[in-house]
């Protein structure tokens, strides 16, 4: 500040004693008097002023002047620095080729040249850099902004506190792929002359893959249609391009896609929840980046209807508990099959008086069996009514990915038990002896506390579980497979959860859950337990017990590992750019370990702990940032022209003698760009730091002069 020369200014000021209207009347009166005098002179034909009249006129004028109180004002002025905003594009596309180098050189050049002007302040803003949002800070990171380059937003923010009369201009160092170029040219006036320094070269070429159309939801087991487009910019580099499709757990598929034409892919959704498809177009001979040769399509698979087949052995006290559970879910189609009469029963009633509805048993257990997502056997004993062939069908269906829930009745150890049927090979509970008939309180085991089916049911404190109503009968069984989530009497397994290949089997070794629904001793969490049990069997992704998953919320990624055993393995995080880092998860109890990270880059982030892998897709499927990475002047040119600035390719500027750009200060309204130089407005603004006032006609002087004149006029008249 001190180096800036001070400038003074002199001003003549008046501070009239009379209010405006009175002064005006006086002036008019004086004017009329002069006119009358002149008229008298002219009509007399000769100039013959009254004696002493000139003196009196002079006195009158002096009196008027004294009333106007003239003074001389001297101001001390300090010039204020003009501000130039330099917005540096650090978006991922700016890291291609030599762009970063040119950007850094241009910025250094600007800093150095700007330092030569004492009245110029340089404000540098970096946009879209690693770890930063559009404003270079985490607070600016709105979710939709990621993947876009928003330089004007940053420039306006940088100059927000600068009055327009102090703005010298704006310089953008970018590849020209700016996504917030204002359509309104008034912005140009606010930013001063806008200069764009382009970092790329003129002959860039690139291939890109665009997802034209992709649904976000689809029905499980049904294909979804995804349309993609591969094109080469600016000119074709091949006629067909190999496109590789990858998805978790499957070998990659290659399609030969004609360039420049929409190509339709039919993608099968094979598991509920997020299905992630990765697409990659082969590299062209000339490429700026491979980042836009890749695309990710995420489709959430939902089930159309859940088909549940409930097979009850006989009507019993707990039968309605299962019906209520399955019928209360509107997405479930329940087919209930129960046996009300069997062939050994005697009933002479004529058929027409019986309520008989033919049950399509063969259709259920043979042709349509594969359509059921879950089969529940509730207190079922082997009766002739279900032939062995049908039970074999069920075994095959479950092994291929179906689900079975067996709720054992008190005769599980007897010869007619399902355990001794073909279905027995699916069942993890092995009968050890006769059923216990004694009260016991169901307990969630240590591993059950970590399993999503039973986690949290017994309360937060393992030492003091919630007191549920007791159950009164339980089969004496041992678990030969699976996870024992609950135990009952004598620590015998009560709830066993098991996986068989792609299929799932659960067994409840007591038929007493109805005691909870009937409220015996206050009941228990039967509704929640059975709902979760059914949904775990139906492979609801939320209830996976051994899983790594990432929840994406804007740019925040919540990594969660669910495991039945506590694990300390770190998770490796691979960003779309291929940078890896290791993340430790914090155990949060109940089988879950979590960590929260922030993604700096759009695209597919891959997380793996060596055993499980999870993908997180950040931002849109076609990030605008990578849509076109060629350096272009087109987007910025109209606004730059309107502002009076210049678009300069740094490669061209470097080729010129002198190698670089000069900065010049130009007066407002003058051309702000020329060959080899950029103009920044010199506004010459100042602040007033002091003021002194010198009265030109102080009262004592005015009085003296007035008296002198009147006296002179009197003397002249008297002569």
């Amino acid at each position: 500040m001190t180096s800036v020369p001070e400038v003074d200014s002199l001003t003549l000021a008046f501070a009239p004693h009379l209010p405006g209207p009175v002064a005006a009347i006086c002036l008019i009166a004086a004017g009329l008097a002069l006119v009358a005098l002149a008229w008298a002179t002219v009509s007399a034909g000769r100039f013959q002023p009254p004696r002493g009249g000139l003196w009196r006129l002079g006195g009158l004028a002096l009196f008027g002047l004294a009333l106007a109180q003239p003074s001389l004002i001297r101001e001390r002025r300090e010039p204020v620095k003009d501000v130039v905003a330099v917005v540096v594009d650090r978006s991922p596309s700016q890291s291609l080729g030599e762009r970063t180098l040119r950007t850094d050189q241009a910025l250094a050049g600007l800093r150095e040249r700007a330092a030569r002007f004492a009245d110029l302040e340089l404000r540098v803003v970096e946009v879209g850099g690693p770890g930063g949002g559009p404003q270079g800070g985490p607070q600016g990171g709105s979710a939709e902004g990621l993947g876009e380059t928003r330089l004007f937003q940053a420039a306006e923010r940088a100059l927000a506190d600068v009055p327009r009369r102090r703005v010298a201009g704006t310089v953008l160092i970018t590849d020209g792929q700016v996504h917030d170029v204002p359509a309104d040219m008034a912005v140009a006036a606010r930013l001063g002359p806008v200069h764009a320094l382009l970092t790329g070269t003129h002959d860039e070429a690139d291939r890109r893959l665009t997802v034209v159309q992709a649904p976000s939801f689809g029905l499980l087991g049904k294909p979804v249609i995804v349309t993609v487009l591969i094109d080469d910019l600016p000119v074709a580099q091949a006629e067909t391009v190999p496109l590789v499709l990858r998805r978790a757990g499957q070998s990659p598929l290659t399609f030969h896609v004609p360039r420049g034409r929409a190509f339709r892919l039919d993608l099968q959704l094979d598991h509920p929840g997020q299905n992630v498809f990765e697409l990659e177009a082969a590299a062209a001979p000339r490429e700026l980046t491979l980042a836009n040769n890749r695309a990710v399509v995420v489709v959430n698979a939902v089930r159309d209807r859940l088909r549940v087949l409930l097979v009850s052995g006989e009507p019993h006290n707990g039968g309605r508990t299962w019906r209520n559970l399955l019928k209360s879910d509107p997405s479930v189609d329940l087919v209930h099959f129960t046996i009300l009469r069997s062939i050994e029963k005697l009933d002479a009633t004529p058929t027409r008086e019986l309520s008989l509805i033919a049950f399509p048993i063969r259709e259920l257990f043979e042709t349509k069996l594969g359509e059921f997502d879950l089969i529940v056997f509730d207190r079922f004993r082997r009766r002739a009514i279900l032939p062995t062939a049908y039970l074999n069908n069920i075994v095959r269906h479950v092994q291929r990915g179906g689900a079975l829930l067996e709720v054992s009745g008190p005769d599980y150890h007897e010869p007619l038990s399902l355990f001794h049927s073909p279905l027995g090979e699916l069942l993890p509970a092995e009968p050890l002896g006769p059923t216990f008939h004694h009260p016991f309180r169901p307990q969630v085991t240590a591993v059950g506390r970590r399993h999503p089916v039973t986690a949290g049911l017994a309360g937060p404190d393992p030492a003091h579980p919630v007191a549920w109503g007791r159950w009164l009968h339980q089969n004496d069984v041992g678990a030969r497979r699976g996870v024992v989530a609950m135990t009952g009497l004598n620590e015998r397994p009560l709830l066993i959860l098991d996986r068989l290949g792609k299929g799932r089997v659960a067994q409840l070794t007591s038929d007493q859950v109805w005691l909870w629904s009937r409220g015996f001793e206050g009941g228990g969490p039967h509704a929640e337990l059975l709902r979760r049990l059914a949904h775990w069997l139906l492979k609801e992704p939320e209830l996976e017990e051994n899983d790594l998953r990432v929840k994406v919320d804007g740019r925040r990624l919540l990594i969660e590992r669910r495991s039945l055993e506590p694990e300390t393995k770190p998770v490796t995080w691979t960003t779309p750019a291929g940078v890896t880092s290791s993340i430790m998860l914090a155990e949060s109890g109940e089988g879950s370990a979590q960590a929260l990270v922030t993604a700096a880059e759009p695209g597919v982030h891959r997380f793996s702990d060596g055993e499980r892998t999870a993908l997180a897709v950040v931002d849109a499927i076609n990030p605008p940032e990578w849509a076109d990475v060629r350096t272009t002047a087109e987007r910025l040119a109209p606004l730059v022209a309107a502002s009076g600035g210049a678009v300069v390719w740094l490669v061209d500027a470097a080729a010129q003698p002198g190698g670089g750009l000069d900065l010049r200060r130009v007066a407002p309204g003058r051309a702000a760009a020329g060959f080899g130089w950029l103009g920044l407005r010199a506004n010459g603004d100042y602040v007033v730091s002091g003021q002194s006032e010198t009265p030109l006609l102080p009262p004592w002087l005015a009085t003296g002069l007035l008296l002198g004149m009147l006296f002179a006029g009197w003397r002249r008249e008297g002569k």
């Binding site: 006290n317 309605r320 008086e353 049950f359 015996f520």
Partner: protein, 274 residues
């Protein structure tokens, strides 16, 4: 020496006099809890046909014999084989183990105590069904109509009885096992009332059923299986119909809307695999 042992005995007796009552009390509490547990284990071990003890010995005996007759019929004709018949006192017994309570309304009924009221209301809200049989009251002429019986009204004071309606012709109770057009007992039922509206948590099972068939009398058999009471106007066909109603009632209480849902199965199967 003798004196010392005598002192010991005296001291022991004094201690015994002080501690024995509390020990005994604790022991008897434990015995009572164990007995209650044993009863609960027995009651929850399968289906018991249960009736409410009214205190009128003749009425209670008819209920017991009637449910025994129904038990034998169920075991003979269906896969449902009830373990037996239990008389319950709602003032004292846990009702959670029973899907259905048969409750004959006698000419005079004492109002319920608070414990019984609370138990019965829990029973109703947790999916249980009470069938009130006003047949005895109607037959003896003490009731003024079926459901408006004064005895029934005083009995059900304070119970959360849902709104009722006469049974519609397509009600699942009329097709749970047999196809029924009427529901006679020892006498023809003038009207059978069931819950109006459908509570989704109950699978279509009415919380309360009221009728005046005097069904237990029609079902009642002696030890040899011989019917104990004549049916009015009479005929084995009427008794057979009474048994069919009893079978439907129990199957209905156990399987809910099963039979009504069965008509939708072909449509669901039709949709599968398309």
């Amino acid at each position: 020496m003798i004196r010392r042992s005598f002192l010991c005995i005296v001291a022991g007796m004094a201690a015994g006099a002080v501690f024995a009552p509390s020990l005994l009390w604790r022991q008897s509490a434990a015995v009572a809890a164990e007995a209650r547990d044993d009863w609960a284990v027995k009651a929850s071990g399968g289906l018991w046909l249960a009736y409410v003890i009214t205190g009128d010995p003749a009425l209670d005996e008819t209920s017991r014999a009637g449910l025994e007759g129904l038990r034998q019929t169920l075991a003979r004709r269906t896969v449902t084989e009830p373990l037996g018949v239990l008389g319950l006192d709602p003032e004292r017994d846990d009702l959670a183990f029973f899907p259905l309570l048969y409750w004959p309304v006698g000419p005079v009924s004492a109002p319920l105590g608070p414990a019984a009221r609370s138990r019965l209301n829990t029973f109703i809200s947790r999916g249980g069904t009470i069938i009130f049989d006003t047949g005895v009251a109607t037959a003896t002429g003490t009731g003024a109509g079926t459901t408006g019986s004064g005895a029934l009204r005083s009995l059900t004071q304070g119970l959360n009885i849902p709104p009722l309606m006469p049974i519609p012709t397509d009600h699942v109770l009329s097709k749970a096992f047999y196809l029924l057009r009427e529901f006679p007992g020892r006498q023809p039922t003038s009207e059978l009332w069931v819950e109006a509206g459908d509570d989704p948590g109950r699978d279509g099972v009415s919380a309360v059923i009221i009728g005046d068939g005097d069904w237990a009398a029609a079902w009642a058999v002696d030890d040899t299986g011989t019917p104990l009471h004549a049916v009015i106007p009479g005929g084995e066909r009427q008794r057979e119909m009474a048994y069919r109603f009893g079978v439907n009632l129990v199957i209905y209480a156990l399987t809910g809307n099963y039979k009504a849902d069965q008509v939708h199965v072909p449509a669901i199967l039709e949709r599968l695999g398309q």
